[in-house]
């Protein structure tokens, strides 16, 4: 018996006409040689795909990915100049510069750790689950704060010169 391919391809309405009592002999393994061999493989592939929850979930995530909303963490770096700069004494300037250097060194280390963690998350998102990609940190918080501290120190050097502090 020739299978009703057209009805199946056309969609659910036509497919519904195949009720429980319908002749299903064309679905059995002993179907006639006139059945296209490729169709069986396609059906098997479709069956595997549609029965696989992970594949369905991945497809849904991929399709809704651009629709998700997630804001970057707010970063507030130190300003190069500050309103109280003119009131700073030479020793206060030196203290702040040392403090900035120490803090920048800590941020440098943290920045390396964040970059390593990001790389690991990307690999995990490919190998394990795409959800891991959502935890990647692109705020660049440590890098921004670190560079800002270096520039702040540059401004403090000029302030020392302006105030005629000992070098």
């Amino acid at each position: 018996m020739t299978p009703p391919f057209d009805a199946l391809i056309a969609g659910g309405v036509e497919a519904d006409t195949i009720g429980p009592g319908a002749d299903r002999s064309w679905l059995s393994e002993s179907s006639e040689p006139s059945e296209p061999p490729l169709w069986g493989k396609v059906m098997l592939f479709s069956k595997v795909l549609s029965n696989c929850a992970i594949v369905r979930l991945t497809a849904v995530i991929a399709l809704t990915w651009p629709l998700l909303s997630c804001a970057a963490r707010q970063v507030t770096p130190v300003s190069m100049t500050q309103p109280t700069d003119d009131r700073l004494t030479c020793s206060e300037i030196d203290q702040e510069m040392k403090r900035n250097q120490t803090e920048a060194a800590v941020l440098l280390q943290k920045n390396k750790e964040v970059n390593q963690a990001n790389a690991a998350k990307v690999v995990a998102s490919i190998v394990l689950t795409g959800w891991m990609a959502l935890t990647v940190d692109l705020s660049n918080e440590e890098q921004i704060k670190m560079r800002a501290l270096a520039d702040r120190n540059e401004a403090l050097v000029f302030l020392k010169t302006k105030k005629r502090c000992a070098v």
Binding site: K47, A62, S69, A72, Q74, P77, L138, I144, D151, A155
Partner: protein
């Protein structure tokens, strides 16, 4: 509807979904920010001080990052320099060779970017340093400039992020120009 007929009905959807995933993956290749989209050509507000007219040169731009096509869009030093120079030029501030009286150094501290989003907000952080010809600081400005690229700007996430980067830099340059107006 029987199980087999449901399978058959789902087959076209699975095919389309698979095609969509592949197309999305291909479309996700990141490209660097377009300098032309970061230029500020019209600036509303007060006039610039006369001493700055045709007297400014962009000397150093640091901190930018090259874009890895497999990662996210970034803004590189050359692109930022081009955008800033063209902005200064269009407003009559850029000096010619040998006529520079003010030198601009920019440290791109970084871009704070979202991973995903319908409306992607990127915030640029940059330090602008203007020195006079004698090397004395004339202006130090730390500028934080956000920009949100709406879904209408591009349906493709990677391009939307690129637009957000470009908008954040454009907003940063706009704020810098505002600071120049008040320079004494």
């Amino acid at each position: 509807m029987t199980s087999d007929s449901r399978l058959a009905a789902a087959a076209p959807f699975v095919r389309h979904a698979a095609t969509g995933i592949v197309l999305l993956a291909l479309a996700a290749c990141a490209t660097s920010a377009d300098p032309g989209r970061m230029v500020v050509s019209q600036a509303a507000g007060a006039r610039f001080p006369a001493k700055l007219q045709h007297a400014m040169c962009v000397r150093n731009v640091t901190g930018g990052e090259a874009t890895n096509p497999l990662w996210v869009s970034e803004v590189d030093d050359a692109g930022f320099r081009e955008a800033l120079s063209n902005s200064l030029s269009s407003l009559g501030l850029l000096g010619g060779q040998g006529s520079c009286r003010y030198f601009v150094d920019v440290d791109l501290l970084g871009l704070s970017q979202p991973v995903v989003g319908i409306a992607m907000e990127v915030t640029s952080h940059a330090n602008y340093k203007v020195y006079d010809a004698g090397g004395k600081p004339a202006l130090f400005a730390t500028i934080k400039a956000p920009y949100t690229a709406e879904f209408s700007e591009s349906v493709v996430g990677s391009i939307r992020l690129q637009r957000a980067n470009e908008g954040a830099i454009r907003a940063s340059i706009t704020q810098f120009l505002d600071r120049l107006r008040t320079m004494t």
